[in-house]
């Protein structure tokens, strides 16, 4: 049996299993709290696994392993920003949000403000950030599944995108937060077990001698010692000082963006109390941290055992480094059958990873559309919870369909930069609004709206005039050149702009409500009046 056939069988088993979970979840999804927040009845460990499942995208599993396999240390540098970012969520955001919000990010922002302008801004930002991230994931999925299943035709890639999109719509429309969370939990367990297994085999081959592994990786990479230091991908010496500033800009967006990503924030609502939210972030940090350490071994292991040249020939971005490594160690240890099985397993894990992440993004954006824009802006708070859930399901379907169409259109373009742009917008617009809302007494409606739009617009505009959109061979439009800024990552400018806009908007407006600040401060720190879990 070929590895493609075996992969397909494993895909089908995963899809059948998750669809069964989805239909079970749909029968237990009755209220808005069930649909948006899984009834707030997940445990800290379950939600911690789901946080890992939501966060560790194919871009971070295959992408980071690939960057390490081709460019060495810089891939590791990238993963560290993703991890440290969770401390911002743990220390400043998770518990306070769980205590003062209900279903969406905007619940916290609109708490003491004029609801319509703030919910409009937060809804727009949520949908923009989620769609950017979603597009990058789905375009990646088309290419990736094509590579893993040996489908190289354009039609094959388009059908892959459509299949991924349809499954994601089914998970979200029928399963809501409950179904999506369980898909993410299953995926997180599969990913951790798969990555740990391959890591163990790789380390075993080197007698658990990390130094030996690194030495072989450097030798096989063709780059020598530079492979073990930063500078082959980000901020290369050839790019000069702007390249290095770009590296710092990327680091800032990664470390500050996570706590402003809407699909991450709504995970804190799925547990009964703020204390469970804390526990789930602790589990999340443990799982994500261990995972990136495993990825470090996978990436250098792929360079050492498969060789950077072979990896680059299979896919120039290195996305197949981890699957190729799985095949190689399987072959060495258990013969051809072993290689086939391990490759198929890792391909199935990658597929599960893509599905779990896109489902989380679709859920976040459709929830925000229904709860923020439809219920509070269009209906001015006059919609029933039942109507909201119906609208959320329709929105999930529409957003999914739009994402499929855009991904098909964008599949020949280089849209990998959309992930870092999503982090930059989250760090520049959402994070200032959240932190000011929770901690600054004077903050008001004008401030919240200015922070969100200021951060969002500055990040997007800076990227439009950057080398990732035009004026470079790797740009989205390589034939055009209207770039004005030498930075690919806008964070170093857009994050201060977002915070500054929030500050100026606030002090230039007279609105000030100390009673509402007292309410959010007391509620966020004590859990008084917090939303309770529903019991069935």
């Amino acid at each position: 049996m070929s590895h493609e056939t075996l992969s397909t069988i494993l895909f089908v088993i995963f899809v059948a299993g998750t669809l069964a979970i989805t239909f079970w979840a749909s029968r237990n999804t009755k209220t808005a709290s069930d649909y948006y927040a899984g009834g707030r009845s997940f445990s800290g460990l379950q939600n911690g696994l789901a946080i890992g499942g939501d966060y560790m995208s194919a871009a971070s599993f295959l992408g980071i392993a690939g960057i390490i396999a081709l460019s060495g240390y810089d891939g590791f540098l990238y993963s560290i920003g993703f991890l440290v970012a969770w401390l911002v969520a743990l220390l400043l955001v998770a518990e306070l949000m769980r205590n003062s919000g209900k279903y969406t990010m905007a619940d916290v922002l609109a708490f003491r403000m004029s609801p319509r302008p703030v919910r409009t801004a937060a809804g727009v930002s949520t949908i923009v950030v989620s769609i950017f991230y979603l597009l990058a994931q789905m375009v990646g999925a088309g290419a990736l599944v094509g590579l893993l299943l040996g489908v190289h035709s354009e039609a094959g890639k388009i059908w892959t995108i459509i299949a991924v999109g349809l499954l994601m719509i089914i998970y979200v429309v029928f399963g809501g937060m409950k179904g999506t969370t369980w898909v993410q939990i299953v995926k997180a367990v599969m990913l951790m077990v798969g990555a740990a297994l391959i890591t163990l085999f790789v380390l075993g081959k080197f007698g658990f001698n990390l130094s030996g592994l690194l030495g072989d990786a450097a030798a096989q990479s063709g780059k020598g010692e530079a492979f073990l230091n930063s500078g082959l991908k980000y901020g290369t010496e050839a790019q000069g000082v702007w390249g290095k500033i770009d590296l710092i800009s990327l680091g800032l967006a990664l470390v500050l963006g996570t706590a402003g990503l809407p699909h991450v924030l709504i995970r804190f609502y799925t547990v009964p109390t703020a204390r469970d939210a804390r526990k789930s972030v602790l589990w999340g940090i443990g799982i994500i941290g261990v995972f990136y350490l495993l990825t470090l071994v996978l990436g250098f292991g792929a360079a050492a055992l498969v060789g950077s040249k072979t990896i680059a020939e299979a896919d120039k971005a290195g996305n197949t480094a981890a699957p190729l490594l799985a095949q190689k160690v399987g072959q060495d240890l258990f013969g051809d059958v072993g290689g086939t099985v391990l490759l198929a397993v890792i391909a199935a894990v990658a597929f599960a990873t893509i599905l779990a992440v896109v489902a989380g993004l679709t859920l976040a954006s459709s929830s925000s559309f229904a709860h923020d824009l439809y219920a509070h802006v269009f209906k001015r708070g006059g919609a029933t919870e039942r109507q909201e859930v119906v609208v959320a399901r329709i929105a999930a379907f529409v957003i999914g369909a739009v994402a499929i169409a855009l991904s098909i259109f964008a599949q020949s373009l280089n849209v990998a930069f959309l992930v870092s742009l999503a982090f930059a917008v989250a760090a520049s617009g959402n994070l200032p609004a959240i932190l000011y809302s929770l901690f600054w007494k004077r903050f008001n409606t004008a401030g919240a709206v200015s922070a969100i739009y200021g951060g969002l617009i500055s990040a997007v505009v800076l990227v439009i005039f950057s080398p990732v959109v035009s004026g470079a061979a790797t740009a989205m439009f390589p034939d055009a050149d209207f770039h004005l800024i030498p930075l690919s990552n806008p964070g170093i400018f857009s994050i201060p702009i977002g915070f500054l806009c929030g500050y100026l908007g606030t002090i230039l407006s007279k609105e000030y409500n100390s009673a509402k600040y007292a309410e959010i401060e007391v509620r966020s720190l004590t859990g008084l009046g917090a939303e309770k879990a529903t019991s069935h």
Binding site: W86, G215, I248, V255, T526, E531
Partner: protein, 114 residues
């Protein structure tokens, strides 16, 4: 829909000594620590960009400063997360529980809407 509570209840709690102590204990731990780990992380990123000779220096075998520095970021993240959970359980949760229990028993503030 969330029930509208009488806001004066929250203002009274906020002004109380116990709540001020809770707020102080939370902020005096979380804010400096946030600045500390952000500075520590940025130091790592800046050195990765601007001090490559230093980062490339070999410590033992093929293990260089860059790798150790990177792994230390993982270690510090795990330690800070663990320390925060200890701090919160010992210093924050008891006061938060007491304040919440008092307010709920006085029935000034109802439960959040289901």
């Amino acid at each position: 829909m969330t029930v509208q509570h009488d806001p004066s209840v929250y203002e009274r709690i906020q002004a109380g000594e116990q709540f001020q102590e809770l707020r102080r204990r939370y902020r005096s731990w979380a804010f400096p620590m946030t600045i500390a780990f952000l500075v520590w992380y940025l130091l790592y990123v800046v050195l990765s960009g601007f001090a490559r000779d230093f980062m490339g220096a070999k410590l033992f075998g093929n293990i260089n400063v860059a790798l150790v520095f990177g792994v230390l970021q993982f270690v510090s993240t795990f330690l800070i997360a663990w320390a925060y959970s200890r701090h919160a359980a010992a210093k924050l949760d008891p006061i938060a529980d007491e304040l919440r229990g008092e307010a709920e028993s006085r029935d000034e503030v109802g439960e959040g809407a289901k």
